[in-house]
Amino acid sequence: MTNPAVAVHGLTKIFSVPFHRQSIVAVKDLNLRIEPGEVYGLLGPNGSGKSTTLKIILGLVSPTRGRTEIFGRDSRLVQSRDAVGFLPENPYFQKFLTGKETLRFFGRLCGLRGAKLKNRVNELLDLVELSKARNRRLGTYSKGMLQRIGLAQALIHDPKLVVLDEPTAGVDPAGSRDIRDLILDLKRRGITVLLSSHLLAQAQEICDRVGILADGVLVREGHLQELIAIENQTEFVIADASDELVREIESFVNRSRAKLIERRKSTTTLERLFLEATAKNDEGVTKQK
């Protein structure tokens, strides 16, 4: 039996408040198992314990009770991080470094040298489409560019698990879609992705399984399709249906014991509308120039 990518056993984290007798329970008796190759979404409102859970998995914070493992290794051991890449929420990388210098620095920390490091840096700058901005200092990068360079540094040592804390927080829809595409690409490569988010629509697009945290407690967990399916309802999406065909379907449903709950025109998503509109506008600006 293969080791899970991430295993969390009975995890509890209590933060004591200095000079006060009270304490804050950030995570309570949490159990998780994430299989290799999965995209797992840890969802929940702000302050629900998502970031704390990720930090404990990465060995940045120690648990009050319980333990966490990465591919069978205790995550408090430094060598367990050999298999992990991490993108923190709103990363502020060292602004005095350029994109290329940032990746070279993180590559050196992971034991890469010489031509190997150079090739890897070029490969990742291409991957996140920052090759043209490679010699610009990070202080001049936009939010979306910072997230992409953050994702590149997380991948520098070819990890088997990538942990992303709110990967699209504060990023515009186009940047957000780029990051979503990169995550889906990681999945195609067989890399396990554990991400935390409170953007539910996006999590729905990319996650295989999700867990929902509320006040540090895992209140729901399972395969996304199973969790969101409504057992006794079925949807049809029909293109080019005539009014007559629609009326026939309705009368057929009415004659049966089933009940028609809603009939509406299909709509596009607001995200798709935004992307199409801004893409056309960009083309227009380019033509005017």
Binding site: G111, E123, D126, E129
Partner: protein
């Protein structure tokens, strides 16, 4: 970016670029953090301190041209070595105070420690970066000082030769020897080494304080207190020992005080150098060992506190 565009831009990961496997202790990781720290501090323009030093040096040498050459060389050495000591101490405290808190505030520490980097290596890399920066600064300031001293010595020698153009050669040679011995003194070099070690000690102590401090200002204020107490503690200790018995309890108490408030006056050899008193090898070795010992102890204490820190 559409899926089709992605498919054309993404290259599969190349197996030849995969990273080496984890080693429990790695000098190359420490080196990477050291160079990163030096780059950070350099780009923060801390070297402006050196510019101030150069201006001070040039300004003082112009001002001193009115004194006799013995006085001029004495004052030049006094002012320059004092300034090197003050600027390296200031640089050590101010540059180190921000290193760990800033990395934690900016969350850059998360991305570094989420890589296979032990916390001990992170702390060692940070302090090594500061020590390297202090070494560069001390060498630059020391070189500027020696250059000004040499230039003034040559100017005085030329002026004296002109004045003694008709004097017997023995008298001229004596005069030249007197000028050289007033200007250069071999003890300048161990003196500068001790000034550097004092700055290293202060940097390590600042790093230790910053591991549990709540802000940069707190660290700098605490270090300012330690700096002044450190310069006064030897006098206070002698006074205490005169008034009280030197039993075991007293000695342990004084050792604990000395651990947190190092005797910084012991590193002040400038007065001896200016007065022309020779610094014995024993004094130099004892002071150097003390500086290295304190630097190592404070670095290990900083690593110990940082090891258990919740990030």
């Amino acid at each position: 970016m559409t899926d089709a565009e992605h498919a054309s831009t993404l290259q599969p990961f190349n197996a030849s670029t995969s990273a080496k496997r984890y080693r429990p202790f790695s000098f190359s990781r420490i080196y990477a953090i050291t160079i990163n720290t030096v780059t950070e501090l350099t780009r923060l323009k801390v070297f402006y301190v050196l510019l101030i030093f150069a201006l001070l040096l040039i300004g003082s040498s112009i001002f001193m041209a009115q004194f006799s050459f013995q006085q001029e060389f004495q004052i030049l050495k006094d002012v320059s070595l004092g300034a090197i000591s003050l600027f390296t101490s200031l640089l050590a405290i101010v540059a180190t105070a921000r290193l760990l808190p800033q990395d934690i505030e900016d969350r850059t520490v998360y991305t570094i420690l989420a890589k296979p980097v032990p916390r001990l290596e992170y702390v060692l890399g940070k302090i090594s970066g500061v020590l390297l920066l202090l070494a560069i600064s001390t060498v630059v300031m020391g070189a500027a000082f020696l250059l000004v001293l040499y230039t003034r010595e040559q100017a005085v020698m030329h002026a004296t030769l002109r004045q003694m153009s008709g004097a017997p050669p023995d008298q001229v040679a004596d005069a030249m020897r007197t000028i050289r011995s007033s200007a250069f003194n071999i003890d300048i070099f161990p003196g500068i080494v001790i000034i550097y070690l004092k700055a290293c000690l202060l940097a390590a102590l600042t790093l230790f304080v910053s591991t549990f401090a709540t802000s940069n200002i707190f660290t700098i204020v605490v270090m300012a207190f330690i700096y002044f107490i450190g310069h006064l503690q030897a006098t206070a200790r002698d006074y205490w020992l005169q008034e009280h018995s030197s039993g075991l309890v007293t000695r342990v108490f004084l050792a604990v005080v000395a651990l947190f408030f190092p005797d910084l006056q012991a590193f002040n050899l400038v007065d001896d150098i200016v007065a022309g008193t020779a610094i014995s090898l024993a004094v130099f070795a004892k002071t150097a060992v003390l500086g290295v010992f304190y630097t190592v102890i404070y670095t290990l204490l900083a690593a110990f506190v940082f090891y258990g820190k919740e990030l």
